[in-house]
């Protein structure tokens, strides 16, 4: 049984595209496609930003850049956790709900001090992540469905805490928590620094630790990873826990930034995070991905939103059209590049 399962991903991966089967390119073209896959989004980000700063006087100003950075920070933290999950070949739809839940819990807990305000969302959202991980890894349920259920459940929990959305919890001005969200250091908002630190840590964990190796191995070929002695179940549980923790933390920081826990936040955030991760070069099939790419993906989405806002005549609904079209283009490019690499 294990043997047949091991065969399945390999055959589908190589047989699925029915096109040209012979490796066309040399090692150089493979390197090129790998380069585009990893840094293509960065190149697009640079071009879009350059064009935008020449086109709009208000784009490359300190205020606008620091606003964009802070508003990107929360999505970026969520996308970091999503990157780990997607590299293992899974998906986490619950992050939007956990983001909102984390924010409300932080605001509720802030009356008992900053420590409670930060620990409570981490504890609850981390626990939901553990449950996601257990159901995916131990019960072998589809991640899509498990995290979908968690998305509904967490939203329900959120409603229960806030008296069906009627209560709004505020975070007192001048508290340490408020400072964490609203303060700035060296001209950039504190959430931006926290995000950068988390991404640095995430990159180290993914590239330099045994756990990181396991994440790639599980996503590459689960059965091969198991045969080689990688703790598949534990790795999966850990990535969903990590994703829950980061979503909760992002929500708590966002609440600190807004000075209140807002119940309606986070709707559709899971899809934004997935988009950012995919745009950043991480394959949804698992086994290949970059933390840095996800950061670039988030920035790209936010810059595009900002540009559309700057074009005053364009309705904000164009944001969605452009984001959708952009995602489609990126994914088509990635699929072609990825297909060439798989065939080598």
């Amino acid at each position: 049984m294990t043997v047949t399962k091991a065969d399945v991903p390999v055959t589908t991966a190589s047989n699925e595209p029915a096109g040209e089967t012979e490796p066309v390119g040399s090692a150089r073209s493979e390197r090129l496609s790998a380069l585009v896959q990893q840094h293509g989004a960065l190149a697009v980000l640079v071009i879009v930003s350059l064009v935008a700063s020449f086109s709009f006087d208000s784009f490359a100003t300190g205020d606008n850049v620091s606003n964009m950075a802070t508003s990107s920070a929360f999505l970026a933290i969520v996308a970091l956790g999503m990157t780990f999950v997607i590299i293992t070949g899974g998906i986490d739809l619950s992050v939007g709900s956990l983001f909102a839940l984390g924010g409300v819990l932080a605001a509720w807990g802030s009356r008992h001090g900053t420590l409670v305000a930060l620990l409570l969302p981490l504890l609850v959202c981390g626990l939901i992540g553990v449950v996601n991980g257990l159901l995916v890894a131990k019960s072998r349920l589809a991640p899509f469905i498990v995290t979908l259920a968690a998305m509904l459940g967490a939203r329900g929990l959120l409603l229960a805490i806030t008296d069906e959305g009627a209560d709004t919890f505020l975070i007192g001005k001048g508290s340490v928590l408020a400072e964490l969200g609203q303060g700035t250091t060296l001209g950039l908002g504190n959430p931006v620094w926290i995000t950068l630190a988390l991404f640095a840590a995430g990159a180290v964990v993914l590239r330099r630790t045994r756990f990181g190796q396991h994440v790639y191995a599980v996503g590459g070929n689960e059965d091969a990873a198991a045969l080689m002695g990688a703790p598949v179940a534990r790795t999966k549980i850990l990535v969903y826990t990590l994703s829950g923790l980061l979503a909760g933390l992002a929500g708590a920081l966002n609440a600190a930034w807004l000075a209140s826990g807002v119940t309606i936040l986070g709707n559709g955030m899971e899809l934004e995070a997935i988009s950012a991760v995919v745009i950043g070069g991480t394959l949804l099939t698992g086994g290949l991905g970059y933390v840095s790419g996800s950061l670039v993906g988030v920035l790209l989405l936010k810059v595009i939103q900002n540009v559309i806002n700057q074009i005053g005549s364009l309705d904000s609904s164009y944001q969605q059209v452009v984001s959708g079209a952009f995602l489609a283009v990126v994914v088509i490019a990635q699929t072609w590049l990825g297909r060439r690499r798989q065939l080598m």
Partner: protein, 320 residues
């Protein structure tokens, strides 16, 4: 059918699970009906049944298309956006009459389905990403076409939404006819067999010379068309076009109905009766909790538990 051939062996766990997989959703619906008849006042009224059925009809219609897509081991996240798009387009073209407006809606939906299908079948993009792009872009387009809620005053649209034949609302009749049609397509046509074969194993279907690309594209077009029908019907019932909130989270309701109804996400099997029952089960569950003044938070948590329980019962089923 397995039950008929098996001798009455002692009930072991595997058989109980298998029974639950096949009939659990119907048992759930029956149990909820009985519970409601006993504990909910005024549950057994024609008015109540009519309300519940009219509410669940659009979900059923969308779930039918979703079941076809899931049968090919895909998923269609764009259905909610297509509903909103259908509402916007209906509102824009209603001035030319209902039928021309419906034709334009069908064209738009077919275009979205074609785009989904082309991304999945020709480019080889994963269904979840391909349809995610159209989910985001499609709702944006709906909003671009018609930025806000608009009241529609059209007698033929109004009668489509609230009319009935012999007391049975059009919405329910349309949902029932579409369910029978889709079940017929899955069970009795070559297209249905090809669809299931592709969901079972796409490489094998390719090797066997099946028209994999054509079937996949048609499946996504069918899903988009069904979602558009649901969008038009919901618009007709509201007598307003609401591009912002119409169809929100519909993709998840539809996927839930399909999965709870016993269709595995791994493709290769489609259970249309179960899908309809799955949608009804969730509708009844929500209605039960609401009628007993339990808050929406409970409803969502209960829904989450039902989903996990249903998938847990169905696990290991499907391929292999």
């Amino acid at each position: 059918m397995a039950e008929a051939t098996l001798p009455t062996a002692p009930l072991d766990r595997a058989r109980v699970l298998q029974w639950l997989q096949t009939y659990g959703v119907y048992a759930g619906v029956a149990a909820l009906l009985v519970v409601n008849i006993v504990i909910t006042p005024h549950f057994l009224s024609a008015e109540n049944f009519r309300t519940q059925a009219v509410q669940v009809a659009p979900v059923i219609i969308v779930a039918l298309g979703m079941a076809l897509v899931i049968g090919t081991e895909g998923v269609d996240l764009s259905v909610g956006a297509v509903m909103a798009l259908a509402a916007s387009v209906t509102a824009l073209y209603l001035g030319y009459g209902l039928l021309p407006a419906l034709l334009v809606v069908a064209l738009f939906a077919a275009a979205v389905g074609l785009a989904n299908g082309a991304l999945v079948a020709l480019v080889g993009v994963q269904p979840i990403v391909a349809t995610l792009a159209l989910m985001v872009g499609g709702r944006g387009l709906a909003l671009v076409l018609l930025p806000q809620l608009k009241d529609l005053r059209n007698p033929s649209l109004a009668s489509l939404g609230s009319g009935d034949i012999a007391g049975i609302p059009y919405l329910i009749l349309i949902a029932a006819v579409l369910a029978l049609l889709v079940a017929f397509v899955v069970r009795r046509t070559t297209f249905g067999r090809q669809l299931l074969a592709i969901g079972d194993s796409r490489p094998a279907a390719q090797l066997a010379g099946l028209p994999v690309r054509r079937v996949l594209i048609l499946v996504y077009i069918a899903s988009a068309l069904l979602a558009a029908v649901a969008g038009v019907l919901a618009t007709a019932r509201l007598q307003a076009s609401d591009p912002t909130s119409l169809g929100n989270l519909m993709e998840l309701s539809a996927i839930t109905a399909v999965v709870v109804g016993g269709t595995p996400l791994t493709g290769g099997r489609v259970n249309i009766g179960g899908t309809v029952a799955g949608a009804v089960l969730i509708q009844l569950l929500t209605a039960t909790l609401i009628k007993h003044d339990l808050p929406p938070s409970w409803t969502q948590i209960a829904q989450a538990i039902v989903i996990v329980a249903a998938v847990y019962a169905a696990r290991g089923r499907g391929k292999r």
